[in-house]
Symmetry: C2
Subunit: 348 residues, 2 copies
């Protein structure tokens, strides 16, 4: 049996936790995981469960984040992209590091999964499925509600315990369709954790995005990280920026989905983060240097300064890094509107 590899995608600039997240410290580098670890450190720990040694974990990130990423992932092979090109080019380029026809798991660096044994169990089953058949295997999360922030996977024929053919991937639905999906019991959330053999992926990429596949087919480099990055500097700028979902999975006929048994949260907002924090008797989350007077169901975060809230209901108040965000908890998915406004002033 060839070695197994894991590719952690850590190139995102997630702004949903502005002002905590900044370009130089995006979401995966925030201490949002259990025990105050970064999400990336927790993802690396999960990755280590699946491989025989840390250097079988590849971490793709932005060049300027490499140093911090390396600190969170000791022993991993940390690869810097010269510019962001979304997930399909990143995965295809990383394949140059995979010897022979080894199987590779791909996972985002900025999601939260606490149940390590369940994750290991499921991911091992996905590796086994990918190793014994020419299939692209994804993990699907049983939806806890009609969330419109995720893509959904419709399962088809059952091919094993909690493993199904994928009938269809769907984009983020509207609220009515999301309700339909959830009520049908046939849909799972697409959480972006994939397992496949290198050859199976590259064939599917060839079918779905031939130009992209051709550009990376003979990706030759010296075998060093620096050599790899030098090649990326040449090749990446001309590549199409496209997600692996769109370039490969939505079109491929050979996709399986494993219904996950592990917990999962994409921590898409301050509100999502707060749902996992301890609350006071009035439903408030007070984190760090927070003063909460006569509030209900608020999220108040003070880092490097006091955040004080008085007389508020259902509000997020975050004072971090010398900036403040305030909005209703229900709007915290839209923080990008604020970070974009801040960026347009050149102050992000």
């Amino acid at each position: 049996m060839p070695d197994r590899y894991v590719l952690v995608l850590a190139g995102g600039r997630g702004e949903r936790f502005w002002p905590w997240s900044r370009p130089a410290r995006p979401k995966q580098l925030l201490p949002l995981a259990r025990g105050g670890r970064t999400l990336l450190a927790a993802a690396f720990e999960r990755a280590l469960q699946m491989v025989q040694s840390p250097d079988h974990v590849l971490v793709m990130t932005a060049l300027d984040l490499k140093q911090e990423v390396r600190r969170e992932c000791p022993g991993a092979r940390v690869l810097g992209e010269p510019l962001p090109r979304n997930t399909a080019p990143a995965i295809a380029a990383a394949c140059a590091w995979i010897p022979g026809d080894s199987a590779l798991a791909v996972m985002p660096a900025d999601h939260l999964i606490d149940d390590l044994p369940a994750f290991r169990r499921d991911c091992t089953r996905a590796f086994e499925a990918a190793e014994r058949s020419p299939m692209l295997v994804t993990h699907g999360i049983p939806p806890s509600g009609p969330d419109t922030n995720f893509g959904y996977v419709r399962r088809g024929a059952k091919v094993g315990d909690r493993i199904f053919r994928v009938e269809r991937f769907t984009e983020k639905p509207d609220a009515a369709r999301a309700r339909e999906y959830v009520e049908s019991g046939e849909y799972l959330w697409n959480c972006g954790i994939f397992v496949w053999r290198k050859s199976v992926f590259l064939e599917a990429l060839e079918a779905g995005r031939p130009a992209l596949a051709a550009a990376l087919r003979n990706f030759e480099f010296s075998g060093t990280e620096a050599g790899f990055e030098d090649r990326l500097r040449v090749v990446f700028p001309a590549l199409e920026s496209i997600s692996v979902d769109y370039a490969v999975l939505e079109k491929a006929p050979n996709v399986l989905v494993l219904e996950a048994s592990f917990d999962w949260d994409d921590l898409g907002s301050w509100g999502a983060w707060a749902r996992r924090q301890p609350r006071d008797a009035r439903g408030n989350v007070a984190f760090g240097d927070a003063v909460v007077v006569d509030c209900d169901d608020c999220v108040v975060v003070g880092e490097g300064g006091t955040a004080a809230a008085m007389g508020l209901r259902g509000m997020v108040v975050v004072h971090v890094n010398g900036a403040t965000l305030t909005c209703p908890v229900a709007d915290s998915e839209s923080v990008r509107k604020v970070s974009e406004a801040v960026r347009s002033r050149g102050k992000l």
Copy 2:
């Protein structure tokens, strides 16, 4: 005619503008007056209208604020109190600087008055009244609404143009009584600007608070500021902390009220301050480094960092001095609740 003097009371630690106001920079030292001047600088300018030279303006403040106060009041006699004892002891002690039986105006340092000519006119009339009769003269503001944050003065018999005997001082009323007062047309707001001759004041203090009067009766000092402050260090700690309203005015039979023709605002809250600021089309006040996305009727202030508000209605969001305050505009009178909570953590 003896010289006229003005005493500016600048010892307050006003916390209503927390986190902008801090113990080391209370409200009177914030740039809340027109043109970005401090309230104290504007009060000093008003005081200069009434006297023949700057050294006829006395400014009582806390010892640790003297340096900043002196910068705002060039040429004034700045006197530092070793500890706060409210207004009656401060005024009584300051009388030691008043030669003969000169008349003295007393005014707070942290109120906003923009109409300098009207102020000068009214205050001159108050001086004239105080100099020609043994009366305590106060200024009354025609109420613009049934505000419950002010004391009220009920006017009695008219003794001149816009000058009346005072029938009664009242404490801050409840909402129903405040409405009654305003509808009657017989009440004015007590704004704390007084004029009297030294002898008239000291007699009234003797009648109202004999122990306090006795303690300060023979206040002997070397004639220097340092000598005065040395004496205060000995005398002040034992004095009763009491307002001049309570110690003198509410009990004295010889009080006149001049119905003011100048504008006046005590700037008691962020909401009050915002009422004087320019607003955008949706009623928002954005001051400094403020980002306002989809908000109505909000007050967003960023100093030394970005304050961002999204999706809020009628909220105050202030990011200053490395701390953040958020509350409904309507609650901004109660900021003390927050600053007290912060102080209890030793972080004010």
